[in-house]
Amino acid sequence: MEEIEFKIAPESKIKKKPSYIKPWLGLKYLFKKPVTIKIPHEKTQIAKKYRGFHTLDWKKCVGCNFCGQICPARAIEMTWLEVDGKMEKRPHPKIDYGRCTFCQFCVDVCPTGALRFIESFILTSEWEEDTIQLFDWVPIHPEKFRKLQESYNDWRFPVEKIEFNKETKEVVYHLRDGEVFKFKILGYGIRPPKKQKGGTDSKPD
């Protein structure tokens, strides 16, 4: 039978001699610049295509639900929205950061390139009923997000507060620059809600 030929590590590589001078050479590191990033005062460099939060171009999104089907965490739910009293023609993905694993397969499969991601990644919140709504959102427009990111440059979530009214299903985004963005959730699923009011029972088949 065939034997395997392997090279064996030479014994000479294993030195077992303690040294008495070498420890003192470590003093030279006192005069070198530390590797520490002093975070509150210094900014870290984030790679260009770091997989952070999502952005969504609402005009481009055709509501195909590819993102919802590929999502391993089932974080994406197609949502029917009403902006300024006008219903969006197609449902848009609503992303739940209590589920999302930031794999961005949803971005890969998006046929129109409406769903994208951006490098921002910091979202911190208290665990309270009203503040935790931040983790569940319909992404905002990439240009808006990019603008906010560039003006603050601290990789934070662009929305400071999300108000969600459970009865009327009205959502208010308070963006970081003070802008307020309102819309209304009409229903979930890929089929349009049957009625304008309370038609939340349409489900994906």
């Binding site: 395997i4 089932r74 739940d96 709504q133 979930y188 088949d205």
Partner: protein, 181 residues
Amino acid sequence: MANGQEGGMSMREQAIVDKILEKAPYAEGKVRRERRIEFTVPAERIRDFLTLLKKNNFELMLQITPVDWPNDGEIELIYQIWSVTHRTHVMVRTRIPRELEKARMPTVKDIYPVAETYERDAHDFFGVYFEGNWKMEMPWILDDTEQDIYPLRKDFDMLQYVKKKYKILDRFDENKDNYVI
């Protein structure tokens, strides 16, 4: 890499298969591809066959894979062994009935001692009982208040179980409980 069967390359593997089959006429064997061979053995002869393999320098047991086939009413057990000497991976397939009372196998712990761990694993997730392994009843990974739950079996309804155990699925919206995967 090295995908599919290449005629000239698998001669060595064919020789191994022939040699084993000569001594174990009850088994069926074939070469899958370079460095991959497999045997199918009836469940009652598994100990004989693994003893034979061990004698033929198949030293490392990598895993015991149970696969549930509810349509056939059987659980397939695949003993995956690697031979450091022959540089070949061998799968020994055997099938046992699926019912909890009948899903029993003799242990191969004395042939491959590490099989004890894999057998505990298979018992915990598939309910296959390995006779002769005294650690069978010992607590392993699962730590459930309900007994006789074998989560990796195909008929285990995971979503129902999760709803029952953790009460709700989604904190943000009650309408999202109808999941379609």
